[in-house]
């Protein structure tokens, strides 16, 4: 990058907020390529100036909350949003918060919890990441059945477009159908349509009562059938997850360690009477189904500890960090059947390979051990998912589905259409070059 550009960038954000030395940049970068600089904007206007300049001079930009993926970013600019971390407003009357996109997700949740309010989506990257990352990824967590995906909590935002212009959308209303729905379309667009700098989030009151029940089972099949029975009894918890023994072994409960096995994790959040009653029904079903161990947690400290343990597990297995992950969906009803078939494809599923099931989303995530050839397994799992009316998640799943159904035209049409939309927002192709390459 030319010195003249760096000089301009420096004058926009101040000397302290532009880093060009490689050793100092490393902390903020992930991935193989190397940008020319890391920049830390302090406000929407600065973001706009930076992006305008980059657009004019054809400099590529990648954005992140704390770290930036450097894919496609050789010689470009990495923008880290961590300085934009203020909670600008917590509005109790309207149940809305206004936050800057670089705000830490967990810090925000803790802050509003102190005021009796709740932002249900989990941090994108497990233990913590930014609110911007949550919206940019739009990723579904295992409580989405009860609370919906992150999009359901986005009411509006300021977004700097790839041309540097500032788009303002939405307001503190929960119903808004004015114009095309840019507010929700942008969620999950992985930073390709613009840089969100400020966001209006819908909040809920904190649930009156929480309880967690853990049951340890001797086989995956048994654990899966217990989950199926809960649904048959019309019990739909906030979270209903299965962790196989290798994954479950990493949970460190402060209360006491649970007897090792495949773990069914049930979180209940809601009104007091029903939550207590349901928790007892869950625990008795676990016992009836011969769980090796059952633990019920009802105190805040123990529940918070379990919550943070869960996020740590997610951090290890989730997001873009885990290279050997296959993420597929078959619907809640087919999950037990899918797991039976999966155990035949991944023989060490009960001992070495990792498994997480978000039962209410019908979402199965498998982390095969090194003995498995990934490309072969992906194809096999795709067939398995399709046979049960499901699919592998996301872009890969869509492509494989089109291939399997011989819908090449549809695939090409979708590529052309989504390319065109991106092009309409980012005519010079400067933003998030690592996405969709």
């Amino acid at each position: 990058m030319q010195d003249a550009i760096l000089k301009k960038l420096r004058s926009t954000v101040g000397d302290d907020n532009l880093v060009v030395q490689q050793d100092l940049m490393e902390e903020f970068l992930s991935g193989p390529e190397l940008p020319s600089a890391v920049i830390f904007p302090g406000g929407t206007k600065e973001v706009s100036e930076i992006i305008s300049l980059c657009n004019e001079l054809d400099v590529r930009i990648g954005v992140g909350g704390h770290t930036v993926n450097t894919r496609g970013l050789d010689g470009g600019l990495a923008m880290v949003m961590s300085r934009m971390n203020r909670v600008l407003d917590i509005d109790h009357e309207n149940l809305v918060a206004e936050v800057e996109a670089g705000t830490s997700h967990t810090a925000f949740q803790n802050k509003i919890a102190g005021e009796g309010l709740y932002f249900p989506p989990e941090p994108f990257k497990g233990s913590d990441s930014s609110i911007g990352a949550c919206i940019s990824s739009g990723d579904l967590d295992s409580m989405a059945f009860q609370y919906g995906p992150p999009r359901a909590y986005v009411l509006g935002f300021d977004m700097v477009l790839p041309t540097g212009e500032i788009l303002n959308c939405g307001s503190k209303v929960i119903k808004n159908v004015s114009g095309y729905d840019l507010i929700h379309f942008v969620v999950g667009s992985r930073g390709t349509l613009g840089v969100i700098t400020r966001v209006l989030l819908k909040l809920l009151p904190l649930p009156e009562t929480r309880r967690s029940i853990l049951g340890s089972f001797s086989s995956i099949e048994k654990a899966a059938s217990v989950m199926g029975k809960l649904l048959d009894q019309k019990i739909y918890p906030a979270r209903l997850n299965l962790l196989n023994a290798p994954v479950a072994a990493q949970l460190n409960l402060e209360s006491r360690q649970i007897v090792p096995g495949h773990l069914v994790l049930v979180d209940l959040e809601g009104l007091r009477n029903s939550t207590i009653r349901l928790s007892e029904e869950v625990a008795s079903l676990f016992r009836l189904e011969k769980a090796a161990d059952v633990i019920m947690l009802d105190e805040d400290e123990a529940l918070d500890n379990l919550g943070s343990q869960w996020l740590k597990l997610k951090e290890k297995y989730h997001g873009d960090v885990h290279e050997r992950a296959i993420d597929f969906l078959v619907g809640p009803d087919h999950a037990p059947q899918a797991l039976n078939q999966l155990e035949k494809l991944v023989e060490d599923l009960d001992s070495r390979s990792g498994l997480m099931v978000y039962a209410l989303n019908g979402n199965i995530r498998v982390f095969p051990s090194e003995v498995h050839e990934m490309t072969v397994l992906v194809q096999e799992i795709n067939r398995l998912a399709l046979s049960l009316g499901g699919n592998i998640a996301g872009d890969l799943g869509y492509r494989l589905k089109c291939e399997a159904l011989k819908e090449k035209d549809m695939w090409l049409e979708m590529v052309a259409l989504t390319d065109e939309i991106r092009n309409q927002f980012d005519p010079n192709g400067i933003l998030a070059p690592g996405v969709n390459q």
């Binding site: 114009g179 729905d181 499901g390 979708m414």
Partner: protein, 477 residues
């Protein structure tokens, strides 16, 4: 009028029984629930996705404009035909393709009426949460096109939150599937969200995969009567602040209490300033506590009378009054205009004031109906459309209300859409940049402005203009 060649080809595509080209027949499809109307040049009733695709391909070839239509209950002119356009009416495509309760999905053709789906789901103990007041007539395709809400949004959200996947015929005639039966099935972008609320301007949605939910085990319906609207709005604020999430917080003012009571005969106190219909749902063991708490909060805000429906019948009566209240104003005046302004909940009292001010300023009776929990107002402006000066005042009052809502940090449309009715006010709510982005989105899908043009935003269509001239006899476009 369409040329005979065009008529023949359209008839070949959808079948001779599924096309109307006579004036009388066409006039019946030239209106919606607004005061506007326009007679199309033809109406076709496709039977399948293949029909729709063939229609679009043919329309492309000859430069014909197509306008989608469900049941015509639209409140913003989104389904109104344009001069020289052909209506594609989806009423024949009304099959339920699958109900899969254990995976919480239903797959339907989009001409299906919302209520007909609800009745089928009921058999499984399930329901589809979005239920706009028009749900006995309106189609799911129309609901998707407008992103309809309804009275349960405060707890359950809007149409957008219940659409998992769509099958869409693009303006090129190509058919795509977006999303799917499962979450996380989008390719690159969440196009499903873009189609929901796009008023048929980006493509024709032919199938939808809906998220359905088990019916809540129990419900309680309450009626709170107030001397003043302000007291009702204080109750709403108190209830929300207490961390209660009712499914419903519906408000009617004195005028509407009177028309509703004349219509349904509930014996409501006709001198009351306002009433709230409040509903909570969930597990039976929790609900008595909730009702007790709500009653306390209502008393704190000077409720005059507070009742809990003691039977399903009683609750149904209340809902009947609410669902028919819009039509009930017909007893007072021949015409009404229904607004859809929405403000942050905290600005509810100020919006009420602004509406009353409008009523006074323009000397028009305005009934206030509101999804109070959502800050979504449906002011009903009563007038006589045969009197041009009244019509002119109604339009002025509308603009005043839109401006008031925007000044209070709200939006001009909470659930009815922009269509043609509110297109001219778009600039009051959105920057030039946002409107330009809307145009860019429209162009990405429909560069020739073939499908429902002139709704939400206008674009200058590319290329096809010349072709259009040859399609319709004696009609200049």
């Amino acid at each position: 009028m369409l040329t005979q060649v065009v008529k023949d080809r359209l008839s070949e595509i959808v079948g001779p029984k599924n096309i109307i080209t006579n004036q009388g027949g066409m006039a019946a499809y030239g209106y919606d629930a607004t005061l506007m109307s326009q007679v199309p040049v033809g109406i076709v009733f496709p039977r399948s996705t293949e029909d729709v695709s063939a229609l679009v391909i043919y329309a492309n070839k000859i430069g014909l404009i197509l306008v989608p239509r469900g049941a015509g209950t639209n409140l913003s002119g989104g389904s109104l035909p344009l001069e020289g356009s052909v209506i594609v009416c989806f009423s024949r495509m009304n099959r339920i393709l699958e109900i899969d309760p254990k995976n919480f999905t239903a797959t339907v053709e989009t001409g299906l009426v919302n209520f007909d789906l609800q009745e089928e789901l009921e058999k499984f103990g399930y329901y589809y949460p979005p239920d706009p007041a028009s749900y006995k007539a309106s189609t799911l395709g129309g609901n998707i096109a407008e992103c309809s809400g309804g009275p349960r949004c405060f707890k359950y959200g809007v149409t957008r939150d219940y659409i998992l996947g769509l099958e869409v015929v693009l303006p090129s005639g190509k058919v795509i599937e977006i999303g799917g039966k499962n979450f996380k099935s989008e390719f690159r972008y969440d196009l499903t969200r873009l189609f929901v609320g796009s008023e048929g301007t980006l493509g024709f949605v032919t199938r939808a995969i809906l998220r359905i939910l088990p019916k809540p085990p129990a419900k309680r319906t309450m009626l709170a009567i107030y001397n003043k609207v302000e007291d009702a709005s204080r109750s709403v604020a108190e209830i929300v602040a207490a961390g209660i999430i009712p499914t419903t917080l519906e408000m009617m003012d004195n005028l509407l209490i009177n028309t509703a009571d004349e219509h349904v005969g509930l014996g409501l106190p006709l001198d009351a300033g306002a009433l709230l219909i409040i509903e909570v749902d969930g597990y039976d063991v929790d609900l008595d506590n909730q009702v007790r708490l709500i009653e306390e909060l209502c008393k704190k805000s000077d409720v005059r009378d507070f009742k809990v429906a003691t039977s399903q019948d009683e609750a149904d009566q209340l809902w009947l009054a609410r669902r028919t209240v819009i039509g009930s104003v017909g007893r007072r005046s021949p015409s009404y205009s229904l607004q859809d302004v929405t403000v942050p909940r905290s600005a509810f009292p100020q919006m009420v004031e602004a509406i009353l001010a409008c009523s006074k300023k323009y000397d028009l009776p305005i009934g206030i109906l509101a999804h109070a929990g959502d800050g979504n107002f449906h002011p009903l402006v009563l007038f006589d459309e045969r009197k041009p000066d009244e019509v002119a005042r109604v339009h002025k009052a509308e603009v005043d209300m839109v401006r008031a809502a925007l000044d209070l940090g709200g939006t001009m449309s909470g659930e009815h859409g922009i269509g043609v009715l509110k297109k001219e006010y778009l600039g009051l709510e959105f920057s030039d940049l946002a409107i330009d982005l809307f145009r860019r989105i429209k162009r990405s899908f429909d560069p020739h402005a073939m499908l429902n043009p002139g709704k939400i935003v206008d674009i200058v269509p590319a290329e096809l203009v010349e072709k259009r001239k040859g399609t319709v006899d004696g009609t200049s476009l």
